[in-house]
């Protein structure tokens, strides 16, 4: 157990605790404005106050409260978009690899196309046509994720297909659907879990970037990307508005990536090329 990546685990736990226990960690509301306490610097600054640990923004909202509630949004987006995008990728990967033939070449063309076309453009388009919101964001980020999942899982399935137990199942009269569900799926779950962990960082960065571009969850809901975007214009006078959420993003993504690398080496070293 000595080799467990303790620092990443600590950071990830901190984020999850923030997200889950947000109302217990701060008495301030993340969206209520208070013009009397606008732009208060963090507590360690001489003009700061102990009341607002990380200061307040231009609407007088507590930065720590927004950070804590923002973690919640990030985690919701991570879970839902990995379920949706990763799930679709997993399904297509299994079907494509197992069924093969024309369907496989068609799906893999689609995957190639998805890799060369910047998914962010579709994400922005969705935000404009469907309107900003959590659903739009989840669909947009899923569009970004599915292709990588489908490609890697398909590769795994191609190798699995050659194994004896699959041939035996066939001889035994199992339908293709049954083989895929009962014999193939459990055997790609390890790879799937590694992909999920490695993509958590991707989702957080995507969510933050889309929020920054005005295509994420709409204000006043606090998200880290939106906090960076809103504070950007005040970087000369109120640096804490952008730097604090930015550092939070980097640390969390870094932690998830390091944890993902560790998990990959543990569960599935042959995926090292990912």
């Amino acid at each position: 157990m000595r080799q467990l990546p303790w620092i990443p685990i600590a950071l990830i736990s901190a984020m999850v605790i923030m997200a889950v226990f947000a109302p217990l960690l701060t008495s301030h509301s993340p969206i209520e404005q208070s013009l009397a306490t606008r732009l208060v610097p963090p507590a360690w600054d001489e003009r700061g106050s102990a009341e607002h640990l990380l200061g307040t923004d231009h609407f007088g909202r507590d930065v720590f409260a927004r950070l804590v509630y923002g973690a919640r949004i990030s985690l919701i987006v991570v879970v839902l978009s990995l379920l949706a995008g990763g799930g679709v990728g997993l399904l297509l990967g299994i079907v494509s690899g197992y069924v093969g033939g024309r369907l496989d070449s068609f799906l893999m063309r689609l995957v190639d196309a998805a890799f060369t076309f910047p998914a962010i453009l579709f994400a922005l388009l969705l935000a404009v046509t469907m309107g900003q919101g959590l659903n739009t964001l989840i669909i947009a980020i899923s569009l970004l994720l599915w292709a990588n999942f489908a490609r890697v899982i398909r590769g795994e399935v191609l190798a699995l297909k050659q194994r004896d137990f699959i041939a035996l199942a066939k001889v035994h009269g199992c339908s293709p659907a049954r083989i895929m569900a009962i014999h193939v799926l459990p055997n790609v779950m390890n790879t799937f879990m590694v992909l999920v962990t490695l993509n958590i960082g991707v989702v957080i960065v995507a969510e933050a970037s889309l929020s920054f571009l005005g295509a994420g969850v709409p204000p006043p809901t606090p998200t880290w990307g939106l906090m960076v975007a809103e504070g950007r214009g005040r970087i000369t006078s109120a640096w804490w508005l952008t730097l604090i959420p930015g550092i939070a993003i980097t640390l969390v993504v870094l932690a998830f990536n390091l944890f993902g690398d560790w998990l990959r080496d543990r569960l599935d070293p042959k995926l090292r090329q990912l």
Partner: protein, 305 residues
């Protein structure tokens, strides 16, 4: 070769048609596009008028034919915000993005190639660990945040460099670094892993046995072959470049296509966004087509695969 080019050309056209069709139907299926096109303070009469002029009261397949016919003539609608044909706007901003992409690519190559090569040579050494850290940090730092950080340090605190907009050479420094580093991590990892593979191959051993100097072996024989996978992944890097450009140009108020895309989003300028996406698809697809053809020309294995 002719057959290969023809096949790839057909594929490229199909891809552009697919993107355009997708964009068209997305705009129609999620409500009446009139609501996306009209300004918010317009009257119901304006709405009826607009539906008529745009032919939105006709059946959807007819609308699609009109859209396709217009698109083929290079007409992708008029921007709501700028009151100009969207395609013209795209082309007027395109050069600015290209001016930024060239130094950014240069930054990416100048950082990624030496770091990738050296970390492969000295595996586990200080530079390998350092560049590994840079790669991990680079992936964990969103592009927009890096840009803002650079502005904070070099423009606000130190006052050395301008924080944005086009202008003299100094204006290029921070945006090109921001856009360039977006590509560095991926580039570097790829070069490192393919260098490791090649260092192990027979022809490298032969080159060494022949008594060639280590510099020649590494920088000429190995690197040349190590760059092949980088070229094959060119399309993926292009996609990254477009994504990076949208964010970087937004942070630095750089008047290119990326910034135009951002403006289309925040002003809910659907015709403009639609045009930008279709034009971007055309560009990406055809640049990839050209790269593929050049590549097949250089490497016969691809042609016959």
């Amino acid at each position: 070769m002719g057959r290969f080019v023809f096949q790839r050309l057909i594929q490229s056209i199909i891809m552009v048609v697919l993107v355009a069709t997708f964009v068209f139907f997305l705009g129609r299926l999620t409500g009446n596009p009139v609501d996306l096109i009209l300004p918010e303070d317009s009257t119901p009469e304006d709405r009826v008028e607009m539906i008529k002029t745009l032919g939105l009261d006709r059946p959807i397949h007819e609308q699609f034919l009109i859209f396709a016919a217009n698109a083929l003539r290079g007409d992708l609608g008029t921007s709501i915000r700028f009151h100009e044909p969207a395609v013209e706007l795209f082309f007027s901003r395109l050069p600015n993005t290209l001016y930024l992409s060239v130094p950014a690519m240069l930054v990416a190559v100048l950082m990624a190639v030496p770091l990738g090569v050296i970390s492969a040579l000295r595996r586990g050494g200080l530079i390998d660990k350092l560049s590994g850290t840079i790669a991990v940090l680079g992936i964990a730092t969103p592009n927009f945040w890096l840009g803002i950080l650079l502005i904070f340090v070099f423009s606000v605190q130190l006052g050395w460099l301008p924080s944005g907009r086009m202008g003299g050479l100094a204006n290029y420094v921070l945006p090109s670094i921001t856009l360039g580093t977006f590509l560095v991590a991926g580039f570097m990892r790829l070069i490192r892993s393919s260098m490791l593979e090649i260092l192990d191959s027979e022809f490298v051993k032969l080159a060494r046995i022949k008594g060639l100097s280590e510099t020649t072996v590494i920088w000429k024989h190995c690197l040349r072959n190590a760059l092949i996978p980088v070229l094959t992944l060119w399309g993926v890097f292009m996609a990254g470049l477009v994504t990076g450009a949208i964010v970087t140009e937004t942070v630095f108020a750089w008047p290119g296509i990326g910034r135009l895309t951002y403006e289309a989003v925040i002003y809910r300028d659907f015709p403009l966004l639609q045009a930008v996406i279709i034009m971007a698809a055309v560009m990406i697809v055809f640049i990839n087509l050209i790269v593929d053809i050049l590549y097949a020309y250089v490497d016969p294995r691809i042609r016959f695969d």
